[in-house]
Symmetry: C2
Subunit: 396 residues, 2 copies
């Protein structure tokens, strides 16, 4: 009657959504203030004031036809130019509107890229642990083989493991820094080693290997160190971006794909991206928000609450003896269960009405993910629970 | 390097877009006021005032988190309920929020439906001429066989031809009424014959055959007669809807899928729709516009200009001796070339700076499509050109 694959995907919601739904039910029962729901990456900080003001300005000053009409498929030219100029200023690049393809958010950006580059079912796309679970859904959905490579002990890229897994069929390596779920920013030497590896392998196999950089958290960073801008280090980089997190607009579905001019067959890649967007039914990115982005391109994200939450909880957890990588960016902590069983850790936390997501879905079952894009009060409340949990394990 | 299929699709833009781009260049050269561009279905009527007022109200009165956040994947519950209630009032149905899945517009609705119902590459989806060209792109893109069936002489459904083309592999029949490009509304007896045929064939093959109703033009109707509401006539109907045309919001990408409770395995279909939306990267429909739709669900479309343009031009063309079906809905006329060569007709029109789209892409090469969602002045100007064109043919 219907596709078995789609049915299964629709029935078996993602683990993250399951916990979120559980949290909603629990909130109805005992009150939302008593549930410490750290399951979803839904920004707790509202969109900056400039966004609302820009919407009001557009709607008051312009004719609806100027902002509700179809744009061209790659998006409004002026918006693309604004994005390109913003990148040029920050990363000393030389992009213009023809390097930018506006999309309906990061999930759209990734699907369009996969659909554009995958040539046949033998193609492989490599993802590193820990990873955002929908990568698997998207890559397999667009017809390639999902290849998972284990990260290093410190949750950075393990280039030896990567080398073992790259072969003639490798179409792309996907990286996500700052990382969801770990908060890790891959350090410069780690990226350099990856670039070196990819360059060698491209030569060896005689065809390009794409580096796909999924970076919705680029601006959500809590340390001096910034994520590397990969197109400046490796020509065949494709960037998937979204304003969901940086401008707190996750529901509005607005993002872009960057195709650098230096990529091999740049013109063909951009054309294939256009073709893929068309096949998938992405007619254009939402037009009002294309205009909003044009006017808000230089607005800084407001990460003050995330920074406070992070400092508070990270310091406390380390003091208590928990093992977790330093969450330098994004708004997640990836906490190792004291008995190396992330599921067990989440079950124990549940008894205190604290909701975490087991690491298994992210490819690392020893861990649990906590989203700290929440009110600080909830972070404060969680501290005594984490203490209790640790003492449970200490007792055996 | 990239997918050949996607590259070709990206390079070879749709015929409609090609003519539109030609029009833009011509406008730069001779001035937009001198180009009669009837190529695109971009509504010339702005969104009703209520839409802009609702946006301003939402942005002024609510916290951004209330309208910019993720909604659940099927969409905001209250919006879905508002859509269901609106349908219930108009069509004496009994839907609730669980029958509605909000999407990023009609192209998304169709792709999600195709992805959800297609089980294997042997599956066939039937489309009737004349048809919107992207149907082929979407159906093949989601992995089924595109089967084209010729319509009757009067451009309604030819159920004899349909019967010849339905077989065990037929997964669905797609209809579009009011029709793009013809403006035809399939009459009740035509739909009855189709329903009768589908019921017989479902029995014969022992499995459901879906009727997919693509109806973005349901409210854009110029006669007393309304398009049939198909779920009331055939249980296994899936409706793809969009507010692009009825509320003049084509750039905002907002629409829905209706899954009627009476459909066989209704729960599984809805779940497969959810799975398909996830695989394709449609996280949720744009959230601000979900709210706008909730508040504007009963706003009537403004079709006054289209009605005027239609009456003016249709009367004139019939008087001149042109052959075309009565454009009862949508905002297109599908004009038969006097020498049965639509391409030739478009080429001749081009010399007068009048841009039509050849019928070949819509599956009927004798015709040319004219979009009358334009300023009335351009329709008035076109009349003398159509006269000239007819006299060209009369001269041989």
């Amino acid at each position: 009657m219907v596709s078995k694959k789609m049915l299964d995907l629709g029935k078996i919601r993602s683990g993250i959504r399951d916990i979120y739904e559980y949290g909603n039910k629990l909130s109805e029962k005992i009150g939302a203030e008593n549930v410490l729901d750290f399951s979803l990456g839904n920004p707790s900080t509202p969109a900056p004031r400039e966004v609302g003001n820009t919407i009001k300005h557009i709607v008051s000053e312009l004719s609806p036809k100027e902002y509700n009409s179809y744009t061209s498929a790659p998006g409004d030219r002026d918006t693309r130019l604004a994005v390109a100029r913003n990148l040029n200023t920050r990363f000393s690049t030389d992009y213009d509107e023809n390097n930018i393809f506006l999309t309906c958010g990061a999930a759209a950006s990734l699907n369009i890229i996969f659909k554009a580059v995958i040539e046949c079912e033998n193609d492989e796309i490599i993802v590193n642990t820990p990873f955002f679970p929908d990568y698997k859904v998207f890559i397999e959905g667009q017809g390639a083989k999902f290849v998972l490579v284990k990260c290093s002990e410190d949750l950075t890229l393990d280039t030896d493991e990567l080398e073992k897994n790259i072969n003639f069929n490798t179409k792309a390596v996907l990286v996500n820094s700052p990382n969801n779920p770990s908060g890790v920013i891959y350090p410069k030497e780690n990226i350099d080693a990856l670039v070196d590896l990819l360059n060698r392998k491209q030569k060896e196999y005689g065809h390009p290997i794409f580096l796909i950089s999924d970076e919705p958290y680029r601006e959500v960073v809590f340390v001096e160190e910034s994520p590397e801008f990969l197109p400046n280090l490796y020509d065949n980089t494709l960037v998937a971006y979204s304003w969901s997190k940086s401008l707190s607009l996750p529901g509005e579905r607005i993002g872009y794909i960057l195709v650098p001019t230096n990529a091999t067959d740049y013109t063909d890649i951009y054309a294939a991206i256009s073709g893929a967007a068309r096949v998938l039914g992405y007619v254009c990115a939402p037009s009002l928000f294309q205009r909003v982005i044009k006017d808000c391109i230089d607005v800084k994200p407001n990460i003050e609450v995330y920074q406070r939450n992070r400092n508070l909880l990270y310091t406390a957890l380390i003091e208590m003896g928990y093992t977790l990588p330093n969450p330098k960016g994004a708004f997640y902590m990836f906490i190792k269960s004291p008995n190396n069983d992330g599921k067990d850790f989440c079950e124990r936390a549940k008894k205190y009405n604290m909701l975490l997501v087991p690491g298994e879905g992210f490819g690392m079952k020893e861990y649990a993910r906590l989203s700290f894009c929440v009110d600080t009060e909830k972070i404060e409340k969680s501290i005594s629970i984490f203490k209790e949990l640790m003492s449970e394990y200490d007792l055996g």
